[in-house]
């Protein structure tokens, strides 16, 4: 028989007690490092600089589209002499985290809020708090759900964005023309229920509807992501080897599909039309592996959003709706 062990009697009390302070110490270090990073950042409190602060809350910062938008916004902020605070959730679909960011920014006393909603309906609850704090709202890129906003009494000062429905139509019209009216099309959708993707899809379908030779053989969400574009399209290709055209609601998904085509030895043989005209997509268009993409101008959106936010702060009235142009980029027009 073994002797009784003494693991948890008196001595460990001391062992436990001292390092538990250490744990507190580590948190101090972490908090301090946050403080250090603050000194690298621009001053956020408007009171200390006298400059008004405009917040730009993006869906995410791991997408080139939003990185461009931030650049345009920053340029405008520098030119107009306002402080720009940019925050984004880790994941594009995380609307709850985006709400938290909005709530937290309101606490810092921002003078205006520019936001690209991660959820057209869901974000309204956070915007109610902005309204109550009398922070004017500029909605960028993705519209609020009109009914949800009206029900909650949220009235954005202005909307800045491209008409995604028109963009989808542009892509659809190109598809009809380029295929001479006969095509078997696969569609890669964005996250279901997102206004942006839904509008592009509607525009595309409306544009090809009148052409009986065009049939949509598969249509599935790939959630805006490149790797999902790859796998979803690979599976579609297995089920329908005769697919000759693809419309992806975003370039990242289109680029994923192009990689899947390359893996299947069909690079350049299928007409891929994307949306956003990202740099990678433009390269693919120039190389002939992609047919076309609808160009949006996110940096333009960022610029106009900040300009209009500043107008509101200065007591001026910006236009209620700013339509940022769209362009179809093909091999002939790619730069």
């Amino acid at each position: 028989m073994q002797p009784r062990k003494h693991e948890n009697t008196k001595k460990p009390l001391f062992v436990f007690f001292v390092p538990s302070w250490l744990r507190g110490g580590v948190l101090v270090l972490v908090a301090l490092s946050a403080g250090v990073s603050l000194s690298c950042n621009r001053d956020t409190a408007s009171t200390t600089t006298g400059k008004p602060t405009v917040a730009l809350v993006l869906k995410t910062l791991n997408h080139p589209f939003f990185v461009d938008m931030r650049r345009g916004a920053q340029e405008a902020a520098d030119r107009l002499g306002v402080t720009l605070q940019v925050q984004a959730a880790e994941r594009e679909i995380d609307v709850e985290k985006q709400m938290q960011i909005v709530e937290n920014l309101i606490q810092t006393g921002i003078q205006a809020l520019c936001i690209t909603p991660s959820g057209s309906r869901e974000i309204v609850s956070a915007l109610v708090k902005a309204r109550d704090a009398k922070v004017p709202i500029v909605v960028v890129d993705t519209r609020l759900d009109a009914k949800a906003a009206a029900d909650a009494g949220v009235k954005p000062a202005t909307f800045v964005g491209s008409d995604n429905y028109e963009g989808g139509k542009l892509a659809g019209e190109y598809m009809v023309k380029a295929s001479n009216g006969t095509a078997r099309v696969a569609i890669l959708e964005g996250i279901p229920g997102h206004e942006t993707g839904d509008s592009r899809l509607r525009g595309f379908k409306d544009a090809v509807k009148g052409t009986p030779g065009i049939s949509i053989v598969a249509s599935q969400p790939a959630n805006w992501e490149r790797d999902q574009g790859f796998t979803v399209f690979q599976n579609m290709l297995q089920a329908h080897p005769d697919i000759d055209s693809v419309f992806a609601c975003s370039d990242l998904m289109a680029l994923g599909a192009i990689e899947a085509l390359a893996a299947a030895g069909k690079a350049g043989k299928v007409r891929v039309v994307g949306f956003d005209a990202l740099d990678d997509a433009k390269k693919a268009i120039a190389a002939g592996t992609m047919a076309a993409s609808v160009a949006q101008f996110p940096s333009e959106m960022g610029r106009v959003a900040v300009e209009n936010a500043v107008k509101v702060i200065r007591g001026e009235t910006p236009p209620t709706d700013v339509n940022v142009k769209l362009e179809l980029v093909t091999k002939d027009t790619v730069k």
């Binding site: 028989m1 073994q2 062990k5 693991e7 948890n8 009697t9 008196k10 460990p12 009390l13 062992v15 436990f16 390092p19 538990s20 302070w21 744990r23 507190g24 580590v26 948190l27 101090v28 972490v30 908090a31 301090l32 946050a34 403080g35 990073s37 603050l38 950042n41 956020t44 409190a45 910062l61 605070q85 940019v86 925050q87 984004a88 959730a89 880790e90 994941r91 679909i93 609307v95 709850e96 709400m99 938290q100 709530e103 937290n104 920014l105 606490q107 810092t108 006393g109 959820g119 309906r121 869901e122 309204v124 609850s125 759900d145 009914k147 949800a148 029900d151 996250i191 229920g193 969400p221």
Partner: protein, 337 residues
């Protein structure tokens, strides 16, 4: 805790046993440990108070409490599971599925009084299924809950065709937007969950068994405890608290999203572990978990207030989690040496 002789059953497996010296020192140990975490929270708050004038205001503190409530509620069930030396990776997906069940019930016109129990039952059922497979199927919790994570997410997506269900009436939404006095409803919901769970864990035989199973499952079984049943119920509790979080989240977003709750399992595990619960099971408290959840909430809030880049935020939060677990492991090793 495994402060047992080889002949007697574990002290804490006998709910009727008078507190022994070992048990008393155990309580002391845990409170000392928790004390350290509380100091961590206080220091963090003090630092933020110095760095930004926007942190220590009533409205911001209520804001933090409200934002923390969802993670803190999920972490209650996670604490039960980890105390029993298990793990539950499916909580985020259960949040999504019970949220979707709630959304569908509300949309079908059921009043909240009926829809809420249905949603809670769905979460509980998911948890019980996990527990049954782990207990009677003798499968590792990691694998079972990994499977459920995918199944529940898929079921939520399938039921909604991937689309959020939104637009609920004001009476339901008041669960998130309402206030009693000046305290937001989600914070009150969280407080109620903690109060009930704390009583369950410290004042009932079930609670004692949770610690006993985590401390030494074999010894607990040998002393005549229905370990399988109790383990099943432990995962049931986790499913249930996930469903409670789903109710608050659905009301907060005014929308039941099948993609809600992604990565919630990691936030809940982090809160539990930062709060001093050992991943080996058998030691930890709900108070610690609450403080752990608050540390994460305050950290996120503070980093937002300071305007720290969102990329740096992820590094800082990840760092805190790793350091907390590292300390836990070092302490454990010293303790067992």
């Amino acid at each position: 805790m495994t402060a047992t002789s080889t002949t007697a059953p574990p002290d804490n497996a006998r709910p009727d046993a008078a507190p022994t010296a070992a048990m008393r020192s155990q309580t002391l140990l845990l409170s000392a440990r928790q004390f350290g975490t509380v100091i961590g929270l206080v220091v963090l708050c003090a630092t933020l108070w110095i760095l930004t004038p926007h942190f220590l205001t009533v409205s911001n503190l209520l804001n933090v409490a409200e934002q923390t409530s969802i993670n803190a509620t999920v972490a209650v069930g996670m604490t039960f599971v980890i105390l029993s030396a298990g793990i539950d990776l499916s909580v985020g997906s259960i949040v999504a599925l019970s949220g979707v069940v709630l959304g569908m019930a509300l949309q079908a016109g059921y009043p909240p009084v009926l829809a809420l129990p249905v949603s809670l039952a769905a979460g509980f059922a998911c948890g019980v299924t996990n527990g049954a497979l782990i207990s009677w199927g003798r499968l590792p919790p990691f694998i079972v809950t990994l499977g459920t994570m995918s199944i529940a997410r898929g079921a939520a997506l399938l039921a909604t065709e991937g689309r959020p269900i939104s637009g609920f009436d004001a009476s339901f939404r008041s669960l998130a937007t309402g206030r009693i006095g000046f305290i937001p409803a989600p914070v009150i919901a969280m407080a109620i969950v903690y109060a009930i769970a704390h009583l369950l864990l410290t004042r009932t035989t079930f609670g004692r068994y949770v610690y006993a199973i985590g401390g030494n499952e074999e010894a607990t079984r040998l002393s005549g405890v229905a370990v399988r049943f109790h383990k099943t119920m432990i995962y049931g509790v986790s499913g249930l608290t996930s469903a409670v979080a789903a109710v608050v989240l659905t009301a907060r977003l005014n929308s039941a999203q099948p993609i809600a709750g992604i990565m919630y399992e990691l936030d809940a595990i982090a809160a539990t572990v930062i709060g001093g619960t050992s991943l080996m099971g058998g030691e930890g408290t709900l108070g610690g978990t609450l403080v752990g959840a608050l540390i994460m909430g305050v950290l996120r809030n503070g980093l937002n207030l300071l305007g720290v880049s969102s990329f740096l935020q992820q590094i800082v939060i990840g760092g805190v989690i790793v350091v907390a677990v590292l300390l836990d492991t070092i302490l454990k090793r010293k303790n067992n040496a």
